[in-house]
């Protein structure tokens, strides 16, 4: 299973997104967290998570800090950030924090699916390489 962690304080939206992603690609395992702290806890529980999809604005620690700490916690993690209010400064800060792609809300679902499916292909290739090394 390819694990994706969604962090968004709009819990219903996060659950809908999780349901949508899991339906389109049932080999995805989606984990949902409502705060940055909870998201980092989930990453600790699931260190094999491949993709983090976090909102920028969160109660407590914000998405930028979540991205920074998540990248340290899980090397190789692909980080996507989403926001309905992402200005240029936020985008630059996010990129510096290791965010691969900044997604505007409402989300472009085709773009999101393409990114997640691409991450799955890259992860599979990475796993094969590691197997060969071993």
């Amino acid at each position: 299973m390819h694990k994706v962690l969604i962090v968004d304080d709009e819990r219903r939206f996060a659950d809908t997104l999780a349901m949508f992603l899991a339906s389109l690609s049932p080999d995805l395992e989606i984990v949902v967290a409502g705060t940055g702290e909870e998201g980092l806890d989930r990453l600790g529980d699931h260190p094999d998570t491949r993709v983090l999809l976090t909102d920028l604005h969160l109660p407590g620690i914000d998405g930028i800090e979540v991205a920074q700490r998540a990248a340290e916690l899980v090397p190789g993690l692909r980080i996507l950030m989403m926001s309905g209010f992402g200005n240029e400064t936020a985008r630059r800060t996010a990129a510096a924090a290791g965010v691969e792609r900044f997604l505007d809300k409402p989300l472009d679902l085709e773009e999101l699916m393409a990114l997640i499916l691409k991450s799955r292909v890259v992860a599979a290739r990475h796993d094969r390489t590691n197997d060969e090394i071993r």
């Binding site: 219903r12 997104l17 349901m19 949508f20 899991a22 389109l24 049932p26 409402p106 989300l107």
Partner: protein, 288 residues
């Protein structure tokens, strides 16, 4: 002769499934030729439960490929099939194809709980429908409870006692009844008083303006509330955005159908989708 009942208004581009190159005046003749030349095909579109994203059913949809190219939308040519007296024959063929496909999925252990097929009131007056239903059980071991018929043109249905009797007979055999395009006909509310429908499909016209459309939102909320009271499952049609999906989940809608999850596609594509879902989609109503 071309019937006066043929549609005069061509649906707006957004309402059409495919582009039309067939001149309206020649539609009836073209359809007769199409039937002889086997130019019809069946496409399938899955319906997803909102509680867990599981495929709750697959709708079989008639498509027409004149000369191998994409043809008019069913909204355009199905009324013409009725006017030209072809609908019973073509409808029985769709039912047969759908049942055969469901049987193939069942053999692969990926069948959804039900296959749904559109049935017009014209078909309900034709004894071949009952015969077709019986032969499905014999030929493909499809249980009636795995078949859901979507009733369109419910105004005509309510006014025709023979059609009503036929619907009730099918229901007594276990066939599930769904009211299609709910909210767009004048008698659909009355229909729910007496029709033992298990499913109502909210027409895409109410879904497309969501989440902004306040009037449509009020109507959708009302339909959901009413159907909840009546114990009727609700499917929203034409769902295309995450915001619509999120809103409908929040309102307690049971299932959705629309481009957000999957467009109508041929059986091979849907087979792949069902295979992916098979580990999370229990086929609870498989045939023997």
């Amino acid at each position: 002769m071309m019937s006066a009942n043929l549609p005069t208004a061509v649906p707006a581009a957004a309402d059409r499934d495919v582009a039309s190159d067939v001149p309206p005046g020649n539609l009836g003749t073209a359809l007769q030729r199409a039937w002889r030349r086997s130019e019809f095909a069946v496409a399938y579109q899955p319906q997803f439960r909102l509680v867990d994203g599981v495929v709750r059913g697959v709708e079989a949809l008639l498509r027409w490929f004149p000369g191998g190219a994409e043809g008019p939308s069913p909204r355009e040519f199905v009324p013409a099939l009725e006017s030209w007296g072809l609908i019973s024959e073509v409808g029985a063929w769709v039912l047969d194809r759908a049942a055969r496909q469901w049987c193939a999925w069942n053999r692969q252990a990926i069948a959804p709980a039900r296959i749904t097929v559109n049935v017009s009131s014209h078909q309900l007056l034709d004894p071949r429908l009952a015969e077709a239903m019986e032969s499905l059980e014999r030929s493909y071991a499809v249980r009636p409870s795995s078949i859901e018929i979507e009733l369109t043109e419910t105004v005509q249905l309510a006014e025709n006692r023979r059609a009503v009797a036929e619907v009730l007979e099918l229901h007594s055999r276990g066939v599930r009844l769904a009211v299609d395009d709910f909210g767009t006909g004048f008698s659909t509310l009355d229909l729910l008083r007496w029709l033992p429908a298990s499913t109502v499909k909210i027409d895409r016209r109410f879904v497309a303006p969501l989440p902004e459309g306040r009037r449509e939102l009020a109507i959708v909320r009302g339909i959901l509330s009413m159907c909840r009271e009546l114990g009727i499952e609700v499917i929203a049609e034409g769902v295309e955005t995450l915001e619509q999906l999120d809103l409908l989940r929040g309102l307690g809608c049971d299932a959705v159908q629309g481009h957000i999850f999957a467009r109508a596609a041929d059986a091979d594509v849907i087979t792949q989708l069902l295979t992916l879902h098979s580990h999370r989609t229990p086929s609870t109503e498989c045939g023997p």
